[in-house]
């Protein structure tokens, strides 16, 4: 079973086994508008919770993507570099950013559940 968690910076994390997939939420993609550039971390890099891990730029502006949890990057979605619009089309699926392993479960459990995140976005 996979479980999905969310941050107040509008990233999502989906844990499957010991590998977590990370991306930006549908809300974030809508707020950014048309995404034209994505910069991803390289495999092997260690990211720390809350640290800058990726960059996403829309026609309007550049934004940092922060690592929602710590871990070692195992893979990045290279297809976004050629086709950044994928992030708008399917932010919580095909538009994933990168994967990390060696995840600390306690870090993950402190993040919002889908229901908590939905309520958080509603309040914005």
């Amino acid at each position: 079973m996979s479980e999905i968690r969310f941050t107040d910076q509008h990233e999502w994390v989906r844990l499957e086994g010991d590998v977590a997939t990370i991306g930006i939420t549908k809300y974030a993609a809508e707020q950014l508008g048309d995404i034209v550039y994505v910069e991803l971390p390289e495999a092997g890099k260690t990211v720390a919770k809350g640290g800058e891990a990726a960059v996403v730029e829309s026609v309007k502006a550049a934004s940092e993507v922060y690592a929602p949890i710590s871990g070692e990057v195992t893979d990045a979605n290279a297809s976004l570099v050629e086709d950044p619009a994928k992030v708008n089309a399917d932010p919580e699926g095909e538009g994933w950013f990168f994967k990390v392993r060696s995840v600390n479960r306690q870090e993950l459990e402190k993040l919002m559940t889908a229901d908590q995140y939905a309520a958080f976005v509603k309040g914005l």
């Binding site: 508008g33 048309d34 034209v36 550039y37 910069e39 960059v55 730029e57 829309s58 026609v59 309007k60 502006a61 550049a62 570099v81």
Partner: protein
Amino acid sequence: MSETTALLRTPLYALHLARGAKMVPFAGYEMPVQYETGILKEHLHTRSSAGLFDVSHMGQAFLAGSEPARALERVSPADFAGLKEGMQRYGLLLNERGTIKDDFMASRLSGEGALFLVVNAGTKDSDFAYVADCLKDLAELRPQPDRALLALQGPKAAGVLERHAPDSAKLVFMRVARIRVGGVEAIVSRSGYTGEDGFEISVDANDAERIARRLLEEPGVLPIGLGARDSLRLEAGLCLYGHDIDETTDPIEADLAWSIGKRRKLAKDFPAAEWIMDRLFNGSPRKRVGIRPDGKAPAREGTEVADKSGRVVGRITSGGFSPTLNAPIAMGTIESALAGDGTEIDLMVRGKALPARVAPMPFVPHRYKRTN
């Protein structure tokens, strides 16, 4: 602009909301940055079809007097006295130091004594106060806050407008006339700020929504927000006041010397003329240029520009993504020695030096309708 200041609304405010606009504060107004279509598609639609822009936040005024064109030359180096009836001309408003207070358009309407001026939204109050004061013995400035301004831009603009304003077909680029649009009187110029063929349509505020709705009912016309207006003008290599030019910039480093009239260069009868002419002949220390990053990452306004040894030589004044070229583009001010097309430079983005080159502008060719 402090948050407690109430934002103004244009006469098309309700129409923007009805078309799903995302409204943002801009120059003291609540303006549409994009509609449901989104910036990228709005941009491409304007290049391929026709887009309608609300630019009613801009300042409109008449300058009346016995010789308003001569009077206006006191604060601008353009040749307005030589402007023929039915023609429009771009001009720079200079302060007494010879740097740029604003850029604007002046129109000489056929059979009318007064000049019709359109200035930038963010500077209109100070422009009007400055012009009125500098020219008080020569001319009378009459601001027109009750006029709205629409821009219809793109290759299909002419066909669309002709169905509502048959007389618009007579206009070519930078021509202007009072004609009827949808049955109401309008001042229409064949110009705009996208690099495309198109029109700017000044109407009474009370008529604006009706005219806008009629144009939007036409097939091929979509409302376009400020987001796409900015990317369109950047592709066209056109300056945005307050970003690419301001009161720290003079006409020579802004690469706008072409807007100084030939007669004016000889007469040296505009603000700081000796200093500006010296810069024209001997060069200015820095210059506004086009810049194309080699990679895919956009470089935004404020990004430092460095030479290949790492020395900072300028900065980006407008930067973003070109939907037409599917690549990043930028405008910046850099040391004149490095301003030649093709010069290799670095852009300091997020602590990294990204290679880029000085590039000719416009990035996307202009498609003005110069002849009938």
